[in-house]
Amino acid sequence: MKTELDEINRNIYDIKNKDDYDFKIKKGLTREIIEEISRQKNDPEWMRDFRLKALETYNKLEMPTWGPDLSELNMDDIATYVRPKTKMTGNWEDVPEDIKNTFDKLGIPEAEKKSLAGVGAQYDSEVVYHSMKNELLAQGVIYTDMETAVREYPDIVQQHFMKCVPVTDHKFVALHGAVWSGGSFVYVPKNVKVEIPLQSYFRLNSPESGQFEHTLIIVDEGASLHFIEGCSAPKYNKVNLHAGCVELYVKDGAYLRYSTIENWSKNMLNLNTKKAIIGKNAQVDWVSGSFGSKISMLYPMSILNGEGARTEYTGISFAGKGQNLDTGFKVVHNSRNTSSLVNSKSISKNGGTATYRALVRINENAKGSKCNVSCESLMLDDISRSDTIPVNDVRTDEVEFSHEAKIGKISDKSIFYLMSRGLSEEDAKAMIVRGFADPISKELPVEYAAEMNNLINLELEGSIG
């Protein structure tokens, strides 16, 4: 009863395949290595130049001076490009057996059949499978891997690629610009409503390597889309790195819902960057679940550029033993009558640290705007930590702004109450935690909500001591 498990069996997530690749770049980060990646990927010239410039920027920028300690990250130990032994295919049967098994176990093809309009699956550095329903193709929707987009839609990619998130933003975005590989490209034409979601799944199998996928989504005027990304990796003893980049362009009157479930293994440094530029009367809703990784620094950002633009952020993070999850949301109100709504929850236990770090900036030109922030933390024991670090920069009076933060523990009274109704201590705690997470899990895609509940159960088993 009182056994303390250091490592929860994450079963399916931890199934490792042999590190069997077609090509793995040598470890480290030099001009030669970047040139080799570019050659391996058959980049057009502009992209090769782009990578080399990004590397220069990377070398000039300092490591962040705030947030979790990243000193264990040594780029000399990381292989930034690993090409799996397969070509991208639109036919599931053509995916090699071991890779297919992995995605089968993660439920990707099943989800595609049941509830998705399109699926992308990336294994290490390259997308191995991409497909979309024909109806969407007929409506002019583009959903493909980033490499194909660079090749087939050079103008649109060049116009948008790392314009929303410039490589100068921070060191890991510069790194991303230099070594990016894989990811998804989506274009939804004007007034096309994509009713069922598209989903990309990212799996990093190779040890001592990194994943640097680039997701570029353009939702044109009056169009709408729900995009889901999932990610996971098996656990290794040495550090793996994820530094993806997501750029979302949501034009006037358009709608995008961007859902993420991140369940990286606990040797992963997850330094991901996501940003949306939102037009007049357009809306972006972020739904974000962070469960895995050793360290996460993840702060999706909405820039409300058009009058009446709106954004919502709904996020939950669960930090267990040895995890430092530093997550939050950034929003810039940059036009009149814009609005943002933030609902963040975090759970920490067994010595884990969960921090909500956020920025709200309301510019002078954003009169009549509204921003409501609510963040709640639940600590399951005395050795876990929870912090809230909001930065609010409000430059006009004519706004409605509220910020509410609550940090709490599971109360012994609540546990006693539930135990008096026949629930064991473990059941009682799980019920309270699930209840705490419920408003967020309702926002997740159904299969992920179930997964989240399983994770909460998994994570709580053995935590009662």
């Binding site: 009274k413 008096s420 109704r421 026949g422 201590e425």
Partner: protein, 245 residues
């Protein structure tokens, strides 16, 4: 020959360093309604909490026997599964779980066997009607945003659904208006039969007017100083507790 349901023998209980119960003896037989009365701070709620072994209290001596089982040191959930229920003075709010889902889960745990959803919903609906609770309350989060009276009714609802052997009602009547007290009394009458028992903890007597009480115990300063029939309650109502000092 009455059948013994609960027996408390020479119970000593501390809250922190403070001695609260100083040798309580109490026997409850099946089919009986008992009342513990006493001024504030006399140890009434401590008695209730001690029966369910609330870890916030420490037992310093004595025994609690339920039927043939020594439950003195069992965990709260084990005691609940053996058929003891407590209606809380201040029921906890648990966000994110609905009354209906909670009660079904709890019923499964207490009985140890799964109950069919349809059967459960019907039972819940019936009891809610009896307690004049609005049906939408079953889909609301457990006690969240409930008024004081609604919380107490919800406790009685749980008692009816879980159908324990012993129901302890800790100040269930406090803060209720006359109508609500009548509904709670009605709930107790519906629950009560010859195989179970009720232990009511209260410091006023309103709720006792409409119930047929078998025994009244007066608890003062951690000891039962007098036990009598229902009439004792009326006497206390008239004269107050000073007659025991």
């Amino acid at each position: 020959m009455p059948k013994k349901l609960l027996e408390i023998k020479d119970l000593y209980v501390n809250a922190g360093d403070k001695e609260i119960l100083k040798g309580v003896d109490l026997t409850i037989n099946k089919g009986e309604i008992h009342v513990i009365m006493g001024p504030n701070g006399s140890g009434k709620s401590t008695t209730a909490n001690a029966i369910l072994n609330n870890p916030a209290y420490t037992k310093m001596g004595g025994k609690i026997i339920l039927e043939d089982t020594d439950i003195t040191n069992l965990k709260t959930d084990e005691i609940a599964r053996k058929g003891v229920f407590m209606s809380f003075q201040l029921p906890e709010e648990i966000p994110g779980i609905t009354v209906s889902n909670f009660l079904r889960y709890s019923k499964n745990k207490v009985t140890g066997k799964p109950i069919k959803v349809f059967e459960f919903k019907n039972e819940l609906k019936k009891h809610m009607e009896e307690l004049q609770m609005k049906p939408e309350y079953s889909e609301r989060y457990l006690n969240v945003g409930f008024s004081g009276g609604e919380k107490k009714k919800n406790e009685i609802l749980q008692m009816l659904v879980l159908n324990p052997k012993l129901a302890i009602l800790d100040e269930t009547d406090s803060g209720l208006d006359v109508d609500s007290i009548n509904i709670v009394s009605k709930g107790i009458e519906m629950y009560k039969n010859k195989n179970n028992a009720v232990l009511i903890i209260t410091h006023n007597t309103k709720i006792l007017h409409s119930l047929k009480v078998d025994y009244v115990h007066v608890l003062i300063n951690g000891k039962i100083v007098k036990t009598g029939t229902g009439e004792l309650a009326s006497e206390i109502e008239e004269k107050g507790y000073k007659m025991f000092k």
